[in-house]
């Protein structure tokens, strides 16, 4: 369990660095007035976690791999804390529609693609 925990931690570190790099790459091209990069990261990560879990259910992916990739890489890649902060900022700026999109819009989209990934993973 200790070896797996360390593997999860290393994968999570890589995920967090990927998040920072992708955030920078996207917001160099798109103005950071709306946190679109975190939307892409969280929605994309939700699909990936659904897929990983589906592949685990279908016994295509071994459990230790699914944990290292799901809890580790994808867990470190996506971030609920950052998105909560962005939502509060949008509320404080009275940008109501953006705040709703960044909170309820993002979670709805993420749940749909996570379900899609899960279904796809089980089908494969």
């Amino acid at each position: 369990m200790m070896v797996l925990s360390l593997l999860v931690a290393v994968a999570g570190g890589i995920g967090a660095a990927l998040r920072l790099a992708l955030n920078g790459a996207i917001h160099r091209r798109v103005k950071p007035e709306y946190p679109i990069a975190m939307t892409i990261i969280n929605v994309g990560g939700s699909f990936a976690l659904g897929l990983i879990t589906g592949l685990l259910d279908g016994r295509i992916l071994p459990e230790s791999w699914a944990i290292a990739l799901g809890a580790g890489l994808v867990g470190g890649f996506t971030a609920f804390s950052t998105t909560s902060f962005h939502t509060l900022r949008l509320v404080q700026e009275k940008r109501w529609w953006s705040a709703v999109a960044n909170s309820f819009g993002m979670i709805t989209l993420s749940v749909v693609v996570a379900g899609l990934g899960l279904w796809l993973g089980r089908m494969l």
Binding site: S5, L6, V8, A9, V10, G12, G13, I14, G15, A16, A17, R19, L20, A21, N23, G24, A25, H27, R28, K31, P32, E33, Y34, P35, A37, N42, G45, S46, L49, G50, T53, G70, A71, G72, G75, G76, T78, A79, F80, S81, T82, T83, S84, F85, H86, T87, L88, R89, L90, V91, E93, S103, F104, I107, S110, V111, V113, A114, G115, L118
Partner: protein
């Protein structure tokens, strides 16, 4: 969007994206590894009900609270490389990886898949609303502490 973790504010107040340096990635990786380890360890020892883990709920409240407090604490005064380093190691790395948005989405799918739609919606809406509230509480707490510290500094002169 105003200045936050990945976006710096220029002197004229226009938000610009911070150019990512290789050292920033190393810092995010370090904090991210520790944050992921903490989340993983907590979910292993915490109890679960109806496929929802208490550890996940704790990090989803604690992460936004601490991020709000951190960014507020680092918001006043001049921007230094030490401040930016703290923001990246603790804010982007540790607190970002301490929470998992994908896990939240998958947990909602799992609960909904068992047919408990009411719990799925309540859990999703509740977590999102409490996350924003926790961020606000973190900012509020840090701001209060800053005012207190400032008064103390004046009083002791």
């Amino acid at each position: 969007m105003n200045s936050d973790i990945e976006v710096a504010r220029t002197v004229v107040g226009v938000p610009v994206a911070v150019r990512i340096r290789p050292s920033y990635l190393g810092m995010a990786m370090l904090g991210g590894a520790v944050g992921t380890f903490a989340r993983f360890g907590l979910t292993l020892v915490a109890p679960s009900w109806a496929s929802l883990n208490a550890g996940t709920m704790i990090v989803n409240l604690l992460g936004p609270f601490l991020l709000g407090a951190l960014l507020q604490a680092l918001s006043e005064g001049t921007e230094t490389s030490r401040r930016r380093g703290l923001r990246i190691v603790v804010g982007v790395g540790f607190l970002g990886a301490l929470t998992s948005y994908a896990e939240l989405a998958l947990d909602i799918v799992t609960v909904a898949g068992r047919g408990d739609l009411l719990l799925a919606v309540t859990y999703g809406v509740g977590t999102i609303a409490l996350g924003a509230l926790a961020t606000w509480l973190g900012i509020f707490t840090a701001a209060r502490w800053q005012r207190h510290a400032a008064r103390h500094a004046v009083g002791s002169q």
